[in-house]
Structure formats: structure tokens, C-alpha cells
């Protein structure tokens, strides 16, 4: 299997503040890759850098998508290459209808008939959107907005789908539903990059994972292995094995 997108030593600044310090990530075609990390570790920044949404960034490093360099080219063109982005906190166009939102997702597509045919495909994943087709997106609930955001990204028929914290602010049941849909989308051949704080969920559905710490890649490996790794379990999954709790108690006793 080959890499669909590769980040090589990418450095990104927000003005004078460094957000990514030499990040190298390679994502396999057809996989689900999870990128985990705490607040401020640089998860969203990676996606924004890939999408070219931070002006004049990355300041160093290369991003290759399907063999071509995409670092520094305008966002509109990156989207046309087949990358689609679900932003953190949904960010649907609240004063456009659900249908119009989806239409904007398909903005880059020239085949009108194909877009029309894809509406039922999206509604198949998210039946609720069909029901609320002509309602303003701002009137939807948080979960429905998340579905709309994913549908809006999907209708451009991307090769690579970038998801920024799709579980944010959703009930556990809804999170499960969304993650099942993400899996199903992946089965159709769309490569998925998933930024998550919900580490357990993300590690269960992903094939490979990176854990970011302070703008660097800390730990990486196949998700199954990371799930077993002690430091991951303690720091990100909150599962303590007996020995470490003892150690903590020992410290306390002193």
C-alpha cells in the first residue's frame, strides 16, 4: 500500500507562535488514521495546514498528496485535488438550508447530474438530513449539524476526508453512530484522517495512530498496539494498571 498524503518535517507558525515543530506523518491509502493529543497539541493545526487555511504556512517542510506537492497552493485548488475537510465544531452555514449546505459541499464538482445522484447517497447515511432538507442548518441539533458537516464534506467525492473532532459535544450514543458511519465511509474507499480527543473510540476504529505532544509526534504505531501500550493506556485512555497506582501511592506515603 502506498501513502496518499505525506507530511515531511512540516513547521507551522501562528504569527510568531510555533504550533507544529517538524511533523512527519504518512497516511496509507484506504486507511483510517487517528491523530490524538491534548488541547493545543496541534491537531487542528495539522488539518488547517494541509488545507492551506493558515496564510503563508507551512513555513518549512513538504506536503505531498498523491505524489504532488500541495504546500503553499490555494485552498480552492487543494479541495479540487480531492481533499475534503470537516472542521472542528461543525461550522455549517447556519443561514443556508441543509440542501444548500450540501450543494456548497459539491461546489467544486462540475457534473450536475452526478451531484443530484449523490444526494440520496448522503441521505442514506443520514436520513435525518433528508427530513430537514429545507430547514436552515442553524436550526439543527448539534449531532445533526455534525452529520451535515460530514455529508457536506462527503458530497464532493473526496479521496481523502479530514475530520476534526467529530465527537465534540455529542452524546456517547451519537458518537458511536457517527463513528460507525465513518467506518462505513472508509469501506467505500475513502481514506480518513481523524483528529480526536476521544482516544479510546478513535483507537478502536482506526488502523494507525499518531499521538501529538506539543506540536511533535510523540508516539506512533498501529492502533491495536497503541491500545496495549502502557503509557498510552495511562495517559490517554485513563486505564491504570495495578503497578502504577501503587507507585503513586508510594509517592504519597513519603
Amino acid at each position: 500500500m502506498s501513502a496518499i498524503i505525506e507530511l515531511k518535517d512540516v513547521v507551522t507558525f501562528y504569527d510568531l507562535i510555533i504550533a507544529l515543530r517538524s511533523i512527519s506523518i504518512s497516511i496509507e491509502q484506504g486507511s483510517i488514521t487517528a491523530i490524538l493529543g491534548n488541547n493545543g497539541a496541534g491537531k487542528s493545526t495539522i488539518l488547517k495546514t494541509i488545507m492551506g487555511l493558515i496564510s503563508r504556512q507551512p513555513s518549512k517542510g513538504d506536503i505531498n498528496f498523491l505524489g504532488g506537492k500541495i504546500a503553499g497552493i490555494p485552498t480552492e485548488q487543494i479541495v479540487r485535488l480531492g481533499i475534503s475537510y470537516v472542521p472542528e465544531g461543525r461550522e455549517v452555514f447556519s443561514e443556508l438550508t441543509v440542501k444548500e449546505n450540501l450543494l456548497m459541499g459539491a461546489y467544486t464538482r462540475k457534473d450536475k447530474k452526478g451531484v443530484k445522484k449523490d444526494f440520496p447517497w448522503i441521505y442514506n447515511y443520514f436520513p435525518i438530513l433528508k427530513e430537514k432538507e429545507n430547514q436552515w442548518a442553524g436550526t439543527l441539533s448539534g449531532g445533526q449539524q455534525q452529520m451535515l458537516a460530514i455529508g457536506r464534506a462527503l458530497i464532493s467525492r473526496p479521496k481523502l476526508l479530514l475530520l476534526d473532532e467529530p465527537s465534540l459535544g455529542l452524546s456517547p450514543l451519537l458518537v458511536k453512530e457517527i463513528f460507525n458511519i465513518i467506518k462505513a465511509i472508509n469501506k467505500e474507499g475513502v481514506t480518513i484522517v481523524l483528529m480526536e480527543q476521544n482516544a479510546k473510540m478513535a483507537l478502536t476504529i482506526s488502523d494507525y495512530a499518531y499521538i501529538l505532544e506539543n506540536g511533535r509526534v510523540g508516539i506512533k504505531g498501529p492502533s491495536v498496539e497503541l491500545l496495549e501500550k502502557k503509557e498510552v493506556r495511562e495517559l490517554y485512555l485513563g486505564i491504570y494498571s495495578g503497578s502504577s497506582r501503587n507507585r503513586y501511592q508510594n509517592i504519597k506515603k513519603k
Binding site: T75, E76, Y85, G89, S94, E100, M104, Y107, G169
Partner: protein, 297 residues
């Protein structure tokens, strides 16, 4: 009864011109959050351009009009590319000052080129043509100016086109999307810079038509000052970001102004619109038709 209906009609006619100015301002405000105070002069310059084509180059009126439309679109694009795109980093107040500056530059240029004395536009319909309507309502006769009817019709057609454009075309919806969230619009693959430019072009075109309609009555460098102010009042009345709101606002102002002029005082007619603004902003600061949406987390 006769007087009242007559005043209503002339109020609707002047309301139409205000509505176009209001629409032009709202279109820009919606995408860039700038109240464009240069709108009046952006309509003034094309009007004088048309005058120049007809007067100096002896072009037929309709050809001059078409060229003028092209000129107004070009002017809108240029202002966006040369001035506002470069000024993106400054805040809203800075942008407002820039539009006021632009207004003065355009006004100064037109005054310098054509002089301040009033001219007359060779408009195919004169303000004195009229269509008498006998026995319209139980024996009352009504006189509708041909120009008034023409203004109203053109405004109506343009409003319908704008409405359809924003409702049903991909480009129109993309404009609304850009206005709501520029970053995400870019992430959808929308070229937001081109959208911004087109916004100014469309707005300039709408303003230009208002300018041409006004110039049929009077043509001098300060002619757009009053319609611009009324259009702005209408836009504020409608909530600044609502297209139908600004249209309704414009007709309210046009009609009230006309009635005020007829029954109370013709000298203070122009004050009405400003009075309405003050009252509305005191009672309902978001405008009469603003649909403010509270974002859900």
C-alpha cells in the same frame, strides 16, 4: 382621496430608487460587513460616464447604457481589487473610512471633469410624460408619471432577478456562504476572493441602474447624495443584512416621505428618513427585519 393616492404613487416611485441603492449597499454589507458609503458616488460616476458617451461621442442612448453597465461592473471590480483587497487587514472602522475616502475621490473627480452645474441627461422618457388614469377608483382620476412607472418596473425586475440569483444559482448561494463563514467557504473550494470581487461588481451594477434612473430627473455631482442616504436608511431599517428588508424599508421611507411632504412640510421632507432611522434604532436596534441567528454550540 385623490391627493392621497397620488402621493402614494410618487412615494412608491421614489422608494424604488431608494430600494435599489439600499439593495446595492446590503449586497456589499452582507459579504464584507462594510457599509459602503461610496455607493452613491459609485452610481454617480457611471451616470456621468453615460452622459459623456452621449454628449461627447454622440452614441445612441441604449448603446451608451450598455457600455455604462460594463463600466460600472469594471469600476466595482477595480475598487475591490485595488483598494479593499489591500485593506483587508484593517478593521471595520478603517474600511468605513476608506469607503468615505473613495466617495470623496469619485465625487471630486466627477466635479473636476464635468463641473458642478446641473446638466440634463437625454433620457428617452422625460419627467413630464404621464399616463392619465381616469376613473381609477370611483371617479377619481390619477396621473402616473411614465418615468415613475418605468422606475418602478425596472426596480421590480431587478429585485426579482437578485432574489432568484441568491435563491437558486450556485454562485448566489456561494455568495451567501462566503458571507456567513469565509474560512469554511474556502474549505469548500469556493474562491472567496472572486466572490468578493463579484459582490462589488453586482452591487456597483445595481447602484448604476439607480444612478441612471435618478439622472433622468437631475444630473449634477451631488445628485446621488440624497438617494444614497435614503437607501442607507432603508438598509438600516431593514436590518442592514436583509435584502427584502431593505426593499420594504425603502418603500416605507419613500411613502412616508411623500405623505409628510404633502400634508406637513415639503421643506422638511428629507428629514423624515433620518427621523425614521433614529426612531427605529431606539426601539428595535437590529432593524425591523433582521433575522439574527443565535449560534448553537
Amino acid at each position: 382621496m385623490f391627493d392621497f393616492v397620488q402621493m402614494l404613487v410618487s412615494g412608491i416611485a421614489s422608494g424604488s430608487a431608494y430600494a435599489l441603492m439600499g439593495l446595492a449597499m446590503v449586497i456589499i454589507y452582507k459579504t464584507s460587513k462594510i457599509p459602503n458609503f461610496a455607493q452613491g458616488e459609485m452610481a454617480l460616476a457611471p451616470s456621468f460616464f453615460a452622459y459623456m458617451l452621449i454628449d461627447s461621442y454622440h452614441l445612441p442612448f441604449y448603446i451608451a447604457c450598455i457600455l455604462t453597465f460594463g463600466f460600472s461592473v469594471f469600476l466595482g471590480c477595480m475598487i475591490e481589487i485595488i483598494v479593499l483587497r489591500k485593506a483587508q487587514k484593517s478593521n471595520v472602522l478603517g474600511m468605513i473610512i476608506i469607503t468615505i475616502g473613495l466617495e470623496m475621490i469619485l465625487l471630486g473627480f466627477v466635479s473636476w471633469k464635468f463641473g458642478a452645474e446641473p446638466k440634463s441627461m437625454p433620457f428617452p422618457i422625460s419627467p413630464y410624460d404621464s399616463i392619465p388614469m381616469k376613473d381609477l377608483i370611483k371617479g377619481t382620476d390619477l396621473i402616473i408619471g411614465t418615468l415613475e412607472l418605468f422606475t418602478f418596473t425596472i426596480a421590480l425586475i431587478l429585485m426579482i432577478i437578485i432574489f432568484l440569483f441568491f435563491k437558486f444559482t450556485k454562485f448566489g448561494i456561494a455568495m451567501k456562504a462566503t458571507q456567513q463563514n469565509q474560512v469554511i467557504a474556502r474549505a469548500m473550494g469556493i474562491n472567496t476572493r472572486r466572490i468578493q470581487m463579484m459582490t462589488w461588481a453586482i452591487s456597483s451594477f445595481v447602484g448604476c441602474i439607480a444612478g441612471l434612473l435618478v439622472s433622468s430627473i437631475t444630473l449634477h455631482p451631488y445628485m446621488m447624495w440624497d438617494p444614497m442616504l435614503k437607501g442607507f436608511s432603508a438598509a438600516v431599517l431593514g436590518g442592514m443584512a436583509s435584502l427584502p428588508g431593505s426593499i420594504i424599508g425603502a418603500y416605507i421611507i419613500g411613502i412616508l416621505e411623500s405623505l409628510f411632504g404633502g400634508y406637513i412640510s415639503i421643506e422638511f421632507k428629507s428629514v423624515v428618513s433620518l427621523m425614521i432611522i433614529v426612531v427605529v434604532l431606539c426601539i428595535k436596534p437590529s432593524g425591523l427585519f433582521a433575522r439574527h441567528y443565535i449560534k448553537k454550540v
